[in-house]
């Protein structure tokens, strides 16, 4: 895992997966096509504004609603390096870990960070630093079991290794 650095884009509470990737685009599962419509119904100009490495910061229950894995896939393919939220909806949380989209839970960071700020993240330590103020935040640590999945780069690699051992 590496150090991530990018500009903050803020969103509110209860951002649902229909806002992250509207169902009208789900006739494909090609991540690069999904990325063109990332966050479209929350902020239609998001894809045009965001740059690779940028960071989404949101309130509570990010990713609620549908189970579509297309939501974290769209965010990842749009070049977003990490999603920080007060907390995540359950299925989105699983999906993000499974596909290797970095996510961090920190109520303090979610409340403090403002749009346009530059943030540096040490994923291994769960450390979030806002560069102009120097404020740092520590995210809720992942259980060791999930760290294991993430260390393998996602659930499929984790399973492939288990299958090979059998």
């Amino acid at each position: 895992m590496s150090i991530l650095k990018g500009k903050v884009w803020t969103f509110g509470n209860d951002i649902d997966t229909d806002a992250i990737i509207p169902a009208r685009y789900l006739n494909t599962s090609d991540p690069s096509e999904l990325a063109l419509h990332c966050m479209e119904d929350a902020d239609p100009s998001f894809v045009a504004k965001a740059s690779p490495g940028d960071i989404i910061v949101a309130g509570k229950n990010f990713g609620c609603g549908s189970s579509r894995e297309h939501a974290p896939l769209a965010i990842k393919a749009a070049g977003i390096s990490c999603v920080i939220a007060e907390n995540f909806a359950r299925i989105f949380y699983r999906n993000a870990i499974n596909i290797g989209l970095p996510i961090l839970e920190s109520a303090e960071a979610a409340a403090f960070l403002k749009e346009g700020q530059q943030v540096e993240i040490n994923l291994e330590e769960g450390k979030i630093s806002e560069l102009s103020s120097g404020r740092t935040f520590t995210a809720v640590p992942f259980p060791p079991f999930m760290q294991g999945i993430m260390a393998k780069g996602g659930l499929i690699n984790y399973i492939r290794e288990k299958q090979n051992k059998k």
């Binding site: 209860d14 649902d16 229909d18 806002a19 509207p22 169902a23 009208r24 789900l26 006739n27 494909t28 599962s29 119904d41 929350a42 239609p44 509570k60 229950n61 609620c64 609603g65 549908s66 189970s67 579509r68 894995e69 297309h70 974290p72 896939l73 907390n87 909806a89 359950r90 299925i91 699983r94 999906n95 499974n98 596909i99 259980p143 079991f145 996602g154 659930l155 499929i156 399973i159 492939r160 288990k162 299958q163 090979n164």
Partner: protein, 425 residues
């Protein structure tokens, strides 16, 4: 100290004597589900696991229901990918257009989901099967791929939130009204990560169709599952339907729960959830008179035969308001046929409603009834987020079939008791 139904089912599936909320476990999966949106992603991931064959070709259900009958070339390609995989893997429970239905209506109807089982589906409304006393939860495509390869999946044992409904349900109030009211009370994240457990005298009398509606929307409060304890109603529903023997699991009365709510629903009004959240539940009287353009009666939430009967009771001898389009979508081919035999389809057609073959279509803004900018719909579906049924500037009010049908004939949101006639369930 006792355990909740969720804990007892998960303990059994994990081969443990008991489990507690917060435990991370590996559970054997009794049935895994995918649809034409989520399965294509899962199939690609499955191929990467290195497995040649699925863990059990009788324990996987692949249902093309979302953008079917294929709405465009891309959707057709997605379904074809799933169909080819089903044939190659000899998946037993793949159901083609004309034989299929909306997954969460179809699988229980076929007796494929049973009390005490653990079911995962790459669809958030998989929690529907909690109505049968199964631990059923929505996951993503990669989780489905993992299950197709191994037959197992990891879970965090959820805490349980118990909801007890007291009193007798008033006329025109059914499962949809109870669950909208519940989500309104809890909020869209009030049950995040938890298992909801529904009980109490008011719901003991509800039939399976109303129970499916209630469990179906547990996810809209953020819940991982929405469970009923199996009873005589469950047993009768499964008679002659269950495809394999089952061992029902009941919760212990002394099981500690994270939260318990006791609500008297004796004087509950039919509920409507206003845009743009299922948690914006209000009594229908607060929005009566709101002009509408379209009504949808159907979906995995309310497309079952009791829902159609309720709609027909109101639509009989009436016409849909000239300004309104009414779409009625029986949830499965069997429900469609039953509605035909009972004369419901004739009532719908004479009322000038459009009746469609089973599809999830309009619920998620896929096809078959997309809204234009500024249009307003009443829908018996499950979500009313921004852009859910079409243009981001359209608006959806969620309601049960009685309110939806009454609104369709009135041209405005209406209380079914106010328009005269019909029969309360």
């Amino acid at each position: 100290m006792g355990h909740t139904i969720a804990e007892k089912i998960l303990a059994r599936a994990a081969g443990k004597k008991e489990v507690f909320p917060g435990d991370l476990i590996n559970a054997k999966i009794d049935l895994a589900l995918g649809n034409d949106i989520t399965a294509p992603v899962a199939i690609n991931e499955f191929k990467k696991t290195g497995a040649d064959k699925v863990f059990d070709k009788e324990r996987i259900a692949l249902i093309p229901d979302h953008f079917t009958p294929n709405k465009d070339i891309q959707s057709a390609e997605q379904v074809k990918l799933m169909r080819d995989f089903a044939r190659q893997q000899e998946i037993v429970h793949y159901y083609e257009v004309g034989r299929m239905g909306i997954e969460h209506a179809l699988l229980p109807e076929l007796g494929l989901v049973l009390p005490g089982e653990v079911v995962i589906g790459a669809d958030s409304h998989t929690c529907t099967y909690g109505a049968l006393g199964a631990f059923a939860t929505g996951v993503g495509s990669t989780d489905l791929a993992a299950v197709m390869a191994t037959g197992e999946l990891w879970f965090k044992v959820p805490p349980t939130i118990r909801i007890v409904y007291h009193g007798n349900l008033p006329p025109w109030v059914g499962g949809k009204d109870l669950i909208l009211y519940t989500i309104g009370k809890l909020g869209v994240d009030g049950a995040r990560y938890a298992a909801l457990e529904f009980s109490g005298p008011a719901i003991g009398k509800l039939g399976m169709d109303d129970r499916f509606t209630i469990s179906n929307m547990a996810i809209e409060a953020g819940a991982k599952a929405g469970l009923f304890s199996p009873d005589e109603v469950t047993r009768k529903y499964l008679q002659g339907r269950a495809v394999r023997p089952y061992n029902a699991v009941l919760g212990d009365d002394d099981a500690p729960v994270a939260e318990e709510y006791n609500w008297d629903v004796e004087s509950l009004e039919p509920q409507v959830s206003l845009p743009f959240s299922p948690a914006n539940a209000q009594p229908v009287s607060s929005v009566v008179g709101t002009e509408i353009d379209q009504v949808v009666i159907g979906s995995c939430t309310n497309g079952r035969i009791d829902d159609l009967r309720q709609a027909a009771a109101i639509l009989k001898g009436r016409k849909v308001h000239p300004r309104v389009r009414l779409l009625i979508i029986p949830a499965t081919q069997a429900i469609y046929l039953q509605a035909m035999r009972e004369g419901l389809l004739e009532i719908f057609a004479e009322a000038e409603a459009a009746v469609s073959t089973p599809t999830c279509g309009p619920c998620l803004g896929g096809h078959m009834g997309i809204l234009a900018a500024g249009e307003v719909a009443v829908a018996t579906t499950n979500r009313n987020f921004v852009g859910r049924m079409g243009h981001p500037e359209s608006r959806v009010y969620l309601a049960g079939p009685a309110v939806a049908a009454a609104s369709a004939v009135s041209g405005v949101i209406a209380h079914p008791g106010d328009i005269g006639g019909g029969e309360a369930r």
